[in-house]
């Protein structure tokens, strides 16, 4: 099936409350797209934003949305049958290793959206999947039950220690990787977390893929808004999934990103 570039209005089939902050919206339509790809979701009257998709078996597709801004709060007010517009899927997909069957995924916050979809596909192909999910607290550990059901090995960590390891999932992964050998690692989450995982993987020579989020406008590679320095790669076409080797060429990774105007904005941890 081909990419859809003009918003397609679809009724919300089902709304699932995942936590205090997160709701999942399920759609009947069999939208194309693989793990790592995203759709642009039009919230009429508010905005259009990128969301990673999940295609669960026997379903069209779903997106999970945290109520963090005006438009996502508006989405949380919507009811089953209300319309959202979708175009996509956009961007690159995660690839499973051809050599070896043991993989790890490190997900921070909503990074679980693309990674849970990848975990589902990997389990179907009988990969051993280790999932390092990090969240503020127990309630925010997304899709833990679903992941356990499909046979992924969940290593939870929370900031407050309400479940699993108390602390960062990056630390938990680091100590775990001292004793375990992974054929490939996948990480999606806040860029500072992705940076730490990239460092570990580079040091240990583990192949890995990261999903790099940048401000999106067109989604299909013409506006240049999401191009990264110095390669110019568009995170909606050449990305968002970037291979660990290619990532070495993206100098802005972990340092800065661009705002809607195109102005460079340094991350708070980067000093002048």
């Amino acid at each position: 099936m081909k990419q859809i570039d003009k918003p397609l209005a679809l009724p919300i089939q089902k709304i699932i409350t995942e936590s205090e902050r997160v709701k999942t919206f399920v759609f009947e339509y069999d939208f194309p797209g693989g793990p790592g790809q995203f759709v642009m979701c039009w919230i009429p009257g508010f905005d259009e934003k990128p969301f990673g998709i999940i295609k669960k078996d026997g379903e069209g597709f779903r997106i999970s949305v945290a109520a963090v801004g005006e438009s996502t709060k508006a989405m949380h007010m919507m009811e089953e049958g209300d319309l959202l517009g979708f175009r996509g899927p956009y961007g690159s997909v995660f690839t499973l290793p051809e050599d070896g069957k043991k993989i790890a995924m490190v997900a921070g916050g909503y990074g679980m959206v693309p990674l849970s979809y990848l975990a589902q596909e990997a389990r179907k192909k009988e990969y051993e999947v280790h999932l390092f999910i990090g969240a503020r607290n127990k309630q925010e550990l997304l899709f833990k039950e679903w992941m356990a059901e499909i046979g992924a090995l969940v290593h939870a960590s929370t900031d407050d220690g309400s479940e699993g390891y108390k602390g960062f999932n990056t630390d938990l992964f680091k100590s775990n990787a001292e004793n375990e050998t992974y054929d490939k690692v996948y990480t999606v989450g806040p860029e500072i977390m992705e940076m730490k995982i990239a460092q570990i993987c580079w040091e240990k020579n583990i192949p890995f893929e990261v999903s790099l989020e940048r401000y999106m406008k067109c989604g299909f590679g013409i506006c240049g808004q999401c191009s990264v320095d110095p390669t110019g790669w568009r995170m909606c076409v050449e990305g968002p999934v970037i291979d660990g080797e290619a990532l070495k060429k993206i100098a802005e990774f972990g340092k800065y990103h661009r705002t809607a105007s195109g102005e460079v904005q340094k991350y708070p941890w980067i000093k002048e």
Binding site: P7, I222, Q225
Partner: protein, 307 residues
Amino acid sequence: MANLSVNLAGISLQNPTVLASGIMGVSSSSLKFVEENGAGAVTLKSIGPTERPGHKNPTVFAWREGIQNAVGLSNPGIENSIEKITTSVTQLDIPVFGSMFADTIDNFKRVGEKMASTGVAAIEVNLSCPNTEDDFGRMFALDTKMTSDLIKAVKSVVGDIPIFAKLSADSSEIVEVGKAAEAAGADAITAINTISGVVIDINMKRPILTNKVGGVSGPAIKPMGVRAVWNLYNSVKIPIIGTGGINTGEDAIEYIMAGATAIGIGSGVYYRGIDVFKKVTEEMSRFMEENRYKSVEEMRGIAHKAS
């Protein structure tokens, strides 16, 4: 490969493809990426007097025949852009054209003066953004007097740097506006900008774009672009950068036969990929070899000779 070089207002281009403003022009890295994919020259995204985030999404969408956008001239403002422009000029081997917009003639002069200091090969004056009427009022390119005053004013502050007037087919007077721009000192004309349109989602019962109205580009507007070049070619002596719906070498040659000296590519990046510049030049070369044209110049305006 046929010889595709052209001379555009004294600037020599290895091939006539020019990245149109507003596409891939946010950073010097993305422009370098375009150069690597075969462009003859690149135009930066328009820069204005102050930082603008642009309109809220949805700002762009596409269908088989066209792309509609109302990005709303998002840009970091001229002060924050000087270094970026200078870097682009240094890092690219092909000519880099600046592009600017503003609300008033004074602000155009202010931006133009600063842009002229960056070493750009030319400055395109965006007189015709269709998406900022609420902020800036009617576009300059709808009026011969305003166009003339603006071009004269910009010309007075940019020294020897050639300036291109970017015109709109939203004006039925495009030829008169083109003549006014030429008389005021413009060194070339870019025709055409996107054409203003409305697309409604009938299920949502509202226009798709947040701005409601937006510029249409892509194959849908090619005949209107060719017509503008066709009519301008009969009335002005300065070169024309034909722009609007060019996806193939054949499209490019059609514009050249209508009278264009160079051709702009924007939406083509969507329809054929980032290497559209390579594809278009290869296709042009093949056509020229098959039909024994020795230069682009030989084809320019040739369709006007038909009886």
